[in-house]
Amino acid sequence: MTAVPVPHRVISRRPETADTVTLRFEPVGRPLADFLPGQFAMVHAFGRGEIPVSVSSVQATGGLAHTVRSVGAVSDGLCAARVGDVVGIRGPYGTSWELQRARGRDVVIVAGGIGFAPLRPLILGALAEPEAYRRINVLIGARTPSDLIARAEVASWATAYTGVTVDQPEPDWRGDVGVVTQLLGRAQFEPEETTAFVCGPEPMIRATARELIQHGVPHDRVQVSLERNMRCATGHCGHCQLGPVLVCQAGPVVDWAHAEPLLAVREL
């Protein structure tokens, strides 16, 4: 059947940064199937259009939420939504983070900028079962301290190591300055026994995945989340192609072993 959006009411709206908002939703009528961390929805701003957005919270742990950065007509419209507004959502679409592959192993989760949002439900899922994993590490990078999302929540997490770094500090910043990969030196993990999850801008994904592998993490144990233009999310519009991969079907979460040769080709 045609994928038609399902009405959802905005039940809370939390500004995260100057241009980023987290919206929590409840279904007006029938609910969507349960999302898994890493999956995405097509979210509709009335009269503007639809965009793919990964879930920053899933029904199973805290209800459906999207964290949206205002960068275009549709995301502007979504960021301006008020509590009580109705937004159309369809999904779940795409692949999810394979957290079960990290069971019994060290976990390294690396987020760059808004890439933190799709990783958040994964982190919550791991923290809900700390005994299932060895050491959980969360590494977060952003351009400036003002671009950091959910700082208080991050500070409350009981991980083996949580590191936060920014590219450009601000006057009150006392934390790390520099790229997120430099935090790997302080993270607590045995590379051969580690599963890693990475999301952020493509150059950051590339640099992080390469560094993890240099440390000795097996390259089929590094999962990354890719981004491409998407119009349908059902594998029919052709926009999200990355070589042989239709990102909406075989992604957004893929093994680095699969993604690396594709991302190495310019303008693929």
Binding site: G47, G72, G88, R231
Partner: protein, 378 residues
């Protein structure tokens, strides 16, 4: 089973009766007809509208109608359109939404009463193209419901190819001038001293029922032999061919080829090849609102991987250069299509060659890529 019914023969009157029977069933009959200096696909109300006595002359960047002495109706190669214009139309409303005074939003799926199509004169290359679009749009985890609805109601009457054009290369894509299964009826046109007639093979129960409704006779050996010989003859008269190599592998290993720069110098990135290609399926979406702002509609329209916006991500397009966009089209068509849908995306109809305004020839480009790959491995 009647689908294996013995071949029959229709004469010109039988063809008239066939179209009349389809119209009487309430079907929208679409077939080739001459308009605006080309053989186009349009609704037919009688067989008289078929392009009797017209052929075409094709070359890279060139398409001309020519008169035929024999009065044949289906002796023309692929025209500027394909059946995707009807099954996967250039514009289609997907759904609409209304915002009520209390702020509630109601979404409504589009469920139009699509015409019940009968396609008359589907060339074997286009029959394969329809099978490919079936896989793409209805064979995956999700189905394009509009396509599925129109497709399941469509009756396909193939016309086997007896007159390939200079831009044709179906045989080298694994197809042929003979029709693969998938048709309801397959016609093979025969014009000789015994008259103008059509050998008919039945491919489905529905085709058999349709044939029952029109005057026909059992096929005679002369008609069968002549039909078979002219289709076989067409196999040897293809104007072009793709190199007989594993194209999936060749394209996959040619991403850094210099030839892409060469073709990028000529390619206008106009997207004509993607519009005329019978398998190109890519679409984009548009949001259209009325003046109240409380009614909005989601429209789908054809899109092209040659368009800069096609790969736009926040910050700019992924594929900026003409080189990368031509490479995307050709590599998808011949290589990554296999990875995504388990088949090639090319049927060798030659439309992209004829309708390219600068005459870029897919077979020439692939041959050049092959030559380049061989130089490198030497």
């Amino acid at each position: 089973m009647t689908a294996t019914a013995a071949p029959a023969v229709l004469d010109r009157k039988g063809l008239d009766a066939l179209v009349a029977a389809l119209v009487a069933q309430g079907r929208t009959v679409v077939g080739p007809t001459v308009r605006d200096g080309a053989v186009v696909l349009a609704e037919l109300t009688s067989a008289d509208a078929l392009p009797f006595g017209w052929g075409v002359e094709l070359e890279a960047g060139r398409y001309r109608l020519v008169r035929r002495e024999d009065g044949a109706a289906f002796a023309h190669s692929a025209g500027p359109q394909s059946w995707k214009n009807f099954l996967h139309p250039p514009r289609e409303r997907l759904w609409s939404a209304d915002r009520k005074p209390d702020g509630e939003v109601v979404f409504g799926a589009e469920e139009p009463a699509d015409p019940s199509y009968a396609f008359l004169g589907v060339r074997p290359c286009d029959l394969r193209a329809i099978a490919i679009q079936d896989r793409v749009l209805t064979g995956g985890r999700f189905e394009d419901s509009g396509y599925g609805r129109r497709r399941s109601g469509a009756l396909l009457i193939a016309a086997e190819c007896t007159e390939p054009g200079a831009t044709c290369f179906c045989v080298s894509t694994g197809g042929g001038p003979a029709a693969d299964p998938g048709y309801d009826l397959a016609l093979t046109e025969v014009v000789d001293e015994h008259g103008h007639r059509f050998l008919v093979r039945v491919g489905s129960e529905e085709g058999a029922r349709l044939l029952e409704q029109v005057p026909h006779r059992a096929a005679d050996p002369v008609t069968e032999d002549t039909a078979r010989a002219s289709v076989e003859g067409a196999r040897d008269r293809m104007g072009r061919s793709l190199p007989p190599v594993d194209l999936h592998t060749l394209m996959g290993s040619s991403l850094d080829a210099d030839r892409w720069n060469d073709v990028a110098e000529r390619c206008l990135t106009c997207g004509n090849c993607t519009m005329v290609c019978p398998t190109c399926f890519c679409t984009t979406t548009e949001e259209v609102t009325d003046l109240t702002g409380d009614h909005t509609e989601r429209w789908q329209r054809w899109d092209s991987c040659f368009d800069l916006d096609f790969s736009y991500l926040h910050g700019g397009p992924v594929r900026r250069s003409a080189r990368s966009r031509y490479r995307q089209w050709l590599t998808h068509k011949l290589s990554t299509w296999h990875d995504q849908f388990g088949t090639s995306g090319c049927v060798g109809c030659g439309r992209c060659i004829a309708w390219c305004p600068v005459g870029i020839d897919i077979t020439e480009e692939v041959a050049a890529l092959k030559a380049e790959s061989e130089t490198e491995t030497d």
